[in-house]
Symmetry: C2
Subunit: 190 residues, 2 copies
């Protein structure tokens, strides 16, 4: 995937999606809905709750808003991923990054909207994503800190679909979350 783009990946139950950072220091946002009923979608909140962690890794499951298992994490060479912040959007740049002066900017939210629109997912139904390789940590007072992704070229994160899914995947568009430069993301389905 070229920098600052998104893609639709249909996954049949049992297939494995591998997400690879080919250059290092690059985030990939992940969202998914059930093929059988697109109103059933990935829930970051239920995934945090049921796994009892902010950093999902190998063996953890991804849960839906109806508390169904959507996928299992089957490989993870990094161990740092985020589920607290929403995909970057035009408003993210407008609100948080005044240096862009409100100019149009590519975003993971727009790219996920474009990727998932052909299967009928409305923008309002794209919630908090699993932000693969994104390093968000908090001070004891709750303040968020976003560090460069702790990845090196070739690092991998993989899930096995436990149901038929439509996945939206991006090469993240926010310079600040990607050590200053937006780079490509590789993926493959096995």
């Amino acid at each position: 995937m070229a920098p600052q783009t998104g893609v639709l990946v249909p996954l049949a139950a049992g297939q494995v999606l591998e997400v690879v950072d080919p250059c290092g220091e690059q985030v990939s946002d992940f969202y998914a809905v059930m093929q059988d009923d697109i109103a059933e979608c990935f829930s970051a909140g239920r995934t945090v709750d049921y796994n009892n962690t902010l950093y999902p890794s190998t063996g953890h499951r991804l849960w839906s808003n109806r508390s169904s298992v959507m996928a299992t994490i089957v490989a993870d060479s990094v161990g740092i991923h985020d589920m607290t912040v929403t995909p970057c959007s035009q408003q993210t740049f407008d609100i948080l990054y005044p240096e862009f002066d409100g100019a149009p900017h590519p975003s993971c939210f727009a790219n996920l909207c474009g990727a998932l629109e052909p299967v009928g997912v409305a923008p309002d139904h794209i919630g908090t994503t699993l932000n693969i390789f994104m390093d968000v940590w908090t001070s004891p007072d709750g303040e968020l800190h976003i560090d460069p992704p702790p990845t090196q070229a070739g690092d991998v994160f993989a899930i096995r679909a436990e149901a038929d899914l439509f996945v939206g995947l991006t090469a993240c568009s926010a310079e600040k979350s990607n050590a200053g430069v937006c780079k490509p993301i590789d993926y493959r389905v096995r």
Copy 2:
């Protein structure tokens, strides 16, 4: 509000909703949608992101899934609230609390569904809540810890609506999040 119940609170822009813990050590889950278009709803992820904190407090704003300001926090005698976990549901008890042996259990999710159904909000559209007075903290490795609410009788959290809202509010039903006993919650609209 009686223990383990929920309520619908319509708020006009400019009105203030005060949530009071009358006994101490009790959580209240908050969710909201816009009256003008109920598909526009509270987004915990955007609220975390735009305020740059996991612990929203006085002066912070509550944001929607369309990046609009829904409310401003105008009073907070506690400073500890959660936006990472979803409201407790029947599945929460089934999955996380085997001691209940799958028996029917009141839940914030069911109570929010009941509170918001009369204004047309479907269960699938009730996402991660603002869990007022809930003390969730994480170890550096990301593990979640839920401590008793750090409230004393009379502690207050208040928001001013910045748009016309339908609010769903609960007295939380999960014993483990409430120091072992589910207690009432008071609220008033000014």
